[in-house]
Symmetry: C2
Subunit: 155 residues, 2 copies
DNA sequence: GTTTTAGTACTCGGATAGGCCGTGTCCGAGTGCATCTGG
DNA sequence: CCAGATGCACTCGGACACGGCCTATCCGAGTACTAAAAC
């Protein structure tokens, strides 16, 4: 049960893009800010763009920017865009295999159901928190961060 | 974000061991019931034994049995035993790297905090469901399963 | 001075290798049972 | 017939390969800007 680190990168980049505003920021610049491999970060941002969270513009003065306001981007959107839409627990229906299989039974696997309940709670909590919420948390503990970020990216 | 399939195997095996009762069941027999690789399933059951969920007895008439009653084994216990105690989202503190790093800031990463809230909800739901609960669900939809399992494993 | 045009530098985007963890397999240590042997 | 010893079959337990996905990288297509040149 391990989440790719691209999720962390993506959320931080969304925060920065929100603070910068409507100005496009290249992937290379975001990578430089966090000292990350530029090409790979670009890959993650592409995933966000495919999911409709970011808009990408090529050429000089191009880059990425938020496709919607931070209030309308949830952490669930980001996680789903990077990690894919699949559930963490994938029921392979082992109860249908081997001598104990009951092919007449078409009910849902109880184990899958129980795991699904837990995973649904996880997704619900992710969907309840928006990028704007995280921005507010950062600004509450570090009020100078937004301006620092904006200045660094706009120079 | 992908959970190892060993978790599914482990939960199903816990159900079967609970239905069988206090009789020890070898890993090979459990593997045969679901048509799974025996040695690998043994590995997973070893993990459950290390976590204190099962007791293992070697030699003839040996095997695995539940170390506690099904009411006192939660799905969180099983998942934690198989997948390990680590959190799915591991904050690597990229905000401390690169030119934007603020080394004077010792506050907690807001992204990690937000992800932690969601993951905590997931763990809470897993801890709220016991093996006995899943057993009850199965018996509700398929009342004949417990006896079928008991008979197959005790013959 | 204005317009056209060619060049150039910069950006994303997808196609291409490397490394680590989950998956699968194997053999050895230990235990309990059954059998055999001696009294 | 009974007690002890012996061999054996069975089980877990940890050590050893294989493959797929995450990580990382490179190069090409497309675009906007710049600058020069022609009118």
């Amino acid at each position: 049960m391990r989440m790719g680190e691209g999720v962390e990168w993506a959320v931080h980049c969304c925060l920065d893009l929100a603070w910068v505003g409507d100005r496009a920021v290249p992937a290379a610049r975001l990578a430089a800010y966090y000292d990350l491999p530029a090409a790979y970060l670009n890959k993650q941002l592409q995933a966000l763009a495919r999911a409709g969270l970011l808009t990408s513009t090529p050429g000089p003065r191009g880059g990425f920017r938020l496709a919607r306001t931070p209030e309308r981007i949830t952490l669930m959107d980001v996680v789903s865009a990077i990690e894919g839409p699949d559930h963490a627990f994938r029921c392979t229906e082992i109860r249908r295999r081997g001598p104990g299989a009951n092919h007449a039974d078409h009910s849902r696997c109880a184990v899958d159901q129980a795991m699904g309940v837990a995973e649904l709670a996880w997704r619900r909590e992710l969907a309840a928190q928006t990028v704007a919420d995280v921005m507010a948390t950062v600004q509450r503990t570090n009020p100078d961060v937004p301006d620092r970020v904006r200045r660094w990216f706009t120079t």
